[in-house]
C-alpha cells in the first residue's frame, strides 16, 4: 500500500490552543503541579513506594512458607494480613495506579500531541486523593488490631467477623475507606485520560494513527470507569454492614456460639459485585501492558507492528468481553450449570483476540532487525510469560478443571504469571524505554541486564514450581503446611527453594531502584530520541519535555506510528510529524 498523505492534505485545526496554567512558585511547579508529567512522576513514585511495602510483605509470606515454624513473629493472623495487603496493594495501588496514573499521565498528552490533559486541575486532585487513599491504607498497619486479613477479595461474611484480623477492629474499615477514596481519585484522572484521547488530539492524529500504547491505556481507562463503580458499591455496602449493622452481605450467622444481629444478606451478592469489578481489573492492568509492549517490540525490532488494525480491535474486543466473564472466579461458590457453561464459554472466547495479539507480536518480530536492548528483553520476556500464564488460564476457565484446582497453589501460580509478572515485566521495559525522555539520561545498561536476567529467570523459578505444587494439591492461603500428608519431603524442599528465589528477585529490584536514582546524575546523555522512535513524545523540542510539551507549535501528524524500515526512506524510521511520502509505508489505508 502506498502512503498517500501529502502535506497539503492535513486537515485544518479543529481543536483550539489550550489555556495552560503557568505556575508561579516552586510549590505550584513541583508539588501542587497541574502538569501531567509532574503528576505522572508523583503517581509513579507513590505507587513504587507502596509497591515496596507489598514486596516486603511477600518476603514475609515466603519466609513463613519456606521455613515454617522458624519465625515466631509471623503468626497466622499476621500471615493473613500480609496476604491481604500484598494482594490489594499490588493489584490496585501499584499496578492500576502506575499504568494509568503514571504512564497514562505521562504518555497520553505527549503521544496524542496535546499540551496537557484537558482538565489539569482535576488531574492534580486525582493524584492527591490517590495519595490520601494510600495514606489511609498505610495507616491501617498502625491501627489497633492491624490491617485487615480478609484476603484481597475481602469476601464476607468473614471479612467483618471477629475471627478475621481487623474484622472487628479498624483494619477492614480503613481498607474500605481507602478503596472508596482510590475510586473517587481514579475517576477524576480517568475522565481526563478518556477525554484527552477522544477530543484533544493534534492535527492529523486520527484514532487509527494512535500508538497502541495509547489505545491500551485508553481502553483500560474506559473499562475502569465502568468497573470501579461495582467495587465502589460493594465497599459502601460492606462498610455499612460493618459500621451500621446492616445486612447487605451478612446472612444469619453464629459466631463463637453467639447469634449475630445480622440476617438475610447475601455473601454471593458481594462476590458478584466484586468480580464484576475484579475481572475487568485484570484487563485494566493487562491492556496497557499489551499496548506498551507492542510499541516496544515495533521500535526495537525496527519493524512496523503486524496487523495494526487487528491489534486495535483485539484490545477493544478484549475490553468488551472482559465484562461478561466475571463469574468464572465463582465456580466454587456454586451456580447453575448453565451459568457455568456460559461463563466458561465467554472466558475461552477471550483467548481468540488474545491469541491474535500474541501472533501479531511474534509476526512483528519475524525477520525484524531485533536490537536486544534492555526494554526489548523485557518485552520478549513478557510475550513468553504471558503465553505461559494465559495457557493455565485456559485450564482454569473450564469448570471441571477449576473446581479441583481452585484453592491450590496452581491458581496462585497462574495469576501471578499472567497479571503479576507479565505486566510488571512490561512496566520495567517501559521504564527503561522512557526513562531517557523523562530524565534526559539513559539507565545504566549493565545494571539493567543484571536486573532483567535475575527478574526474568527468578520469576520462573518462583512460579513454575508452584504449578507443580498446586497439581499435588497443596492448598493456598495456608500459613503452615508441615503436617500435610500430601506434602512430601521434596515438596517442602521445593517450597524453601521458591522462597530463596523470591528473596533473590526482590534483591534485584533494589538494584533497579538504585539504578533509577544513580542514572539521574550519572547516566549516559540520551539526547531527544535515543531509540530512534517515531512517536510524538520523542520529537519534543526539549528533553525532558517542558511545560506545554511541544514548544510554540503543536506537531502535525502525517503518518501512523509504525513507519520503521520503510523501503526507500533515508533512515530506518520516519517520525509521525515528518511530512511527505517515502516509498511503501505499510500504514493501513
Amino acid at each position: 500500500m502506498v502512503d498517500v498523505t501529502p502535506a497539503d492534505a492535513v486537515p485544518p485545526a479543529e481543536v483550539a490552543e489550550m489555556e495552560l496554567y503557568h505556575p508561579h512558585s516552586w510549590w505550584t511547579k513541583y508539588v501542587f503541579s497541574q502538569d501531567a508529567k509532574v503528576i505522572a512522576i508523583q503517581y509513579s513514585a507513590t505507587a513504587t513506594a507502596i509497591g515496596l511495602v507489598a514486596l516486603v510483605l511477600s518476603w514475609m509470606m515466603r519466609l513463613q512458607l519456606g521455613f515454617p515454624g522458624t519465625f515466631d513473629f509471623i503468626t497466622p493472623e499476621a500471615y493473613y494480613q500480609f496476604i491481604t495487603m500484598h494482594g490489594m496493594i499490588m493489584v490496585i495501588y501499584l499496578l492500576t495506579a502506575l499504568f494509568l496514573g503514571g504512564f497514562g499521565n505521562y504518555l497520553i498528552p505527549l503521544m496524542v500531541g496535546a499540551r496537557d490533559m484537558v482538565f489539569p486541575y482535576v488531574n492534580m486532585l486525582s493524584y492527591w486523593i490517590y495519595l490520601l487513599a494510600v495514606l489511609v491504607l498505610v495507616s491501617s498497619f498502625f491501627a489497633p488490631g492491624g490491617p485487615t486479613g480478609a484476603g484481597w477479595t475481602l469476601y464476607p461474611p468473614q471479612a467483618i467477623m471477629t475471627g478475621t484480623p481487623g474484622g472487628q477492629d479498624w483494619g477492614i474499615i480503613l481498607m474500605l475507606v481507602s478503596l472508596i477514596l482510590f475510586i473517587i481519585g481514579f475517576t477524576m484522572g480517568g475522565l481526563n485520560y478518556v477525554v484527552t484521547v477522544l477530543q484533544a488530539r493534534t492535527r492529523g492524529m486520527t484514532l487509527m494513527r494512535l500508538p497502541l500504547t495509547v489505545w491500551g491505556i485508553f481502553t483500560a481507562t474506559v473499562m475502569a470507569l465502568l468497573a470501579f463503580p461495582a467495587l465502589f458499591v460493594a465497599c459502601v455496602m460492606m462498610l455499612f454492614d460493618r459500621a451500621l449493622g446492616t445486612s447487605f452481605f451478612m446472612p444469619a450467622i453464629v459466631e463463637m456460639g453467639e447469634q449475630l444481629q445480622h440476617g438475610g444478606g447475601s455473601p454471593i451478592l458481594f462476590q458478584h459485585l466484586f468480580w464484576f469489578f475484579g475481572h475487568p481489573e485484570v484487563y485494566i492492568v493487562a491492556l496497557p501492558a499489551f499496548g506498551i509492549v507492542s510499541d516496544l517490540i515495533s521500535t526495537h525490532a525496527r519493524k512496523n507492528i503486524f496487523g495494526y488494525r487487528m491489534m486495535v480491535w483485539a484490545i477493544v474486543g478484549i475490553g468488551a468481553l472482559s465484562f461478561v466473564v466475571w463469574a468464572h472466579h465463582m465456580y466454587v461458590s456454586g451456580m447453575h450449570p448453565y451459568f457455568g457453561f456460559f461463563f466458561a464459554t465467554t472466558t475461552l472466547i477471550i483467548a481468540v483476540p488474545t491469541a491474535i495479539k500474541v501472533y501479531n507480536w511474534v509476526l512483528t518480530l519475524w525477520r525484524g532487525d531485533i536490537h536486544l536492548t534492555v526494554p526489548m528483553l523485557f518485552a520478549l520476556a513478557f510475550i513468553v510469560t504471558f503465553v505461559n500464564g494465559g495457557l493455565t488460564g485456559l485450564f482454569l476457565g473450564n469448570v471441571v478443571v477449576d473446581v479441583p484446582l481452585s484453592d491450590t497453589m496452581f491458581v496462585v501460580a497462574h495469576f501471578h504469571m499472567v497479571m503479576g509478572v507479565a505486566p510488571i515485566l512490561v512496566i520495567f521495559g517501559a521504564i527503561y524505554h522512557w526513562y531517557p525522555k523523562v530524565t534526559g539520561r539513559m539507565l545504566n545498561e549493565a545494571m539493567g541486564q543484571f536486573h532483567f536476567w535475575v527478574t526474568f529467570l527468578g520469576a520462573y523459578l518462583i512460579f513454575f514450581p508452584m504449578h507443580y505444587l498446586g497439581l499435588m494439591g497443596v492448598p493456598r492461603r495456608y500459613n503452615e503446611l508441615t503436617d500435610m500428608t500430601m506434602m512430601t519431603e521434596s515438596a517442602h524442599d521445593l517450597n524453601s527453594f521458591i522462597s530463596i528465589m523470591a528473596f533473590l528477585v526482590g534483591f534485584a529490584q533494589i538494584v533497579f531502584l538504585f539504578n533509577l536514582i544513580w542514572s539521574i546524575r550519572h547516566g549516559r546523555e540520551a539526547g531527544g530520541n535515543p531509540w530512534r522512535a517515531t512517536t510524538l513524545e520523542w520529537q519534543t523540542p526539549e528533553t525532558p519535555p517542558a511545560h506545554g510539551n511541544f514548544g510554540k507549535e503543536l506537531p502535525i501528524v502525517y503518518r501512523w506510528a509504525y513507519d520503521y524500515s520503510v523501503p526507500g526512506a533515508k533512515e530506518d524510521f520516519i517520525p509521525q510529524n515528518v511530512p511527505g511520502s517515502f516509498g511503501s509505508s505499510r500504514e493501513p489505508a
Binding site: 492534505a9 492535513v10 486537515p11 485544518p12 485545526a13 479543529e14 481543536v15 483550539a16 490552543e17 489550550m18 489555556e19 496554567y21 484537558v118 482538565f119 489539569p120 486541575y121 475517576t187 475522565l191 481526563n192 478518556v194 477525554v195 477522544l198 477530543q199 484533544a200 488530539r201 493534534t202 492535527r203 492529523g204 492524529m205 486520527t206 484514532l207 487509527m208 470507569l225 465502568l226 470501579f228 463503580p229 461495582a230 465502589f232 458499591v233 460493594a234 459502601v236 455496602m237 455499612f240 451500621l244 449493622g245 446492616t246 445486612s247 447487605f248 444481629q261 440476617g263 438475610g264 444478606g265 447475601s266 451478592l269 459485585l273 464484576f276
Partner: protein, 240 residues
C-alpha cells in the same frame, strides 16, 4: 475553559462505505465527537460511570428484595401520610417527584437563556432550580425523620425485612447527596452568571481558566441525570 468548539470540521478524505465508514467517523481527525467541548464530553462520560454506580446499587437492592424470605414492608402503607383523617398513599413522594421534575424544567429554561447571554434570567432560573432541589432534599429529610420515628433503622424495622431500611437509606441517601452537590454547584454557577464571569472572561478561582455559558448546560446535564435517576428509584422503591 479551553474552547474546543470551532465550528468547521475537517473533511479532507472521502469516507469509506459501510462499517469501515462508521469506524472512520469515530476515529476521525482530532476529535471523536465533533463540536462537543471537553467539559461536555467529560460530563457525559462521568454520567455513564455514575449510571453504573446507581445501577449496581439498584441491582443489589432488587437482589436483596427478591431473595429475602421474610415479608417486605408494603410501600403503599409505609410511605403514606396521615392527612385529614385518612392515610393517603405516596402523597409525599408524589409531591417530591413533582418538585424535582419541575426543577428539570427550570433548568432547561436556564440553559436556553444562558445561550442568549441573558444573565439575569439565567441566574434567577438557576437559583429557582437550586431552590426546588433544596426543597426536594428538605422533604426527603422529612420523610427520613418520619420513618425513623416510626422505628425504621438501617439494621431493622417493625414491618419485615431489615434490607428495606438499609437499602432505602443508602440509595435515597446517595441520591440526596447527588442533589445536594447539584444545589451547591448550581449556586456557584448562578453566581458566576450573575457576576458576568462568562462575559468578562474572569478566570476561575481554582482552575484559573475562563468559563463560558456552556457551563450552564453542563450543569444542566448533571441535573437532568439526577432527576432521571430519581425516576428509577421512585419506580423501584415506591411503585414495586
Amino acid at each position: 475553559m479551553a474552547d474546543t468548539t470551532l465550528t468547521h470540521i475537517g473533511q479532507t478524505q472521502p469516507r469509506p462505505a459501510g462499517l469501515r465508514g462508521v469506524a472512520a467517523d469515530w476515529s476521525s481527525d482530532q476529535r471523536a465527537f465533533k463540536n462537543v467541548s471537553w467539559g461536555k464530553a467529560m460530563m457525559w462520560i462521568f454520567l455513564l460511570s455514575d449510571t453504573f454506580v446507581f445501577g449496581c446499587f439498584l441491582l443489589s437492592y432488587m437482589t436483596a428484595r427478591m431473595s429475602t424470605r421474610v415479608p417486605w414492608p408494603n410501600p403503599s402503607e409505609v410511605f403514606a401520610l396521615h392527612i385529614g383523617g385518612s392515610n393517603i398513599p405516596l402523597i409525599l413522594i408524589a409531591i417530591m417527584t413533582f418538585v424535582l421534575i419541575s426543577s428539570s424544567g427550570t433548568m432547561a429554561m436556564a440553559v436556553n437563556f444562558g445561550y442568549r447571554h441573558d444573565r439575569r434570567k439565567t441566574a434567577i432560573l438557576m437559583l429557582l432550580t437550586a431552590a426546588l432541589g433544596a426543597t426536594f432534599v428538605g422533604m426527603q429529610a422529612f420523610e427520613w425523620t418520619k420513618l425513623i420515628t416510626e422505628g425504621v433503622r438501617p439494621w431493622g424495622n417493625p414491618w419485615g425485612a431489615a434490607q428495606f431500611g438499609s437499602s432505602f437509606f443508602m440509595i435515597t441517601g446517595f441520591h440526596g447527596t447527588h442533589v445536594t452537590f447539584g444545589v451547591i454547584f448550581l449556586i456557584i454557577v448562578a453566581r458566576k452568571v450573575w457576576r458576568g464571569d462568562y462575559d468578562t472572561g474572569r478566570p476561575g478561582f481554582f482552575t484559573s481558566r475562563r468559563g463560558r455559558y456552556e457551563h450552564v448546560e453542563i450543569m444542566g446535564l448533571y441535573w437532568h441525570f439526577v432527576d432521571l435517576v430519581w425516576v428509577f428509584i421512585f419506580a423501584f422503591f415506591y411503585l414495586w
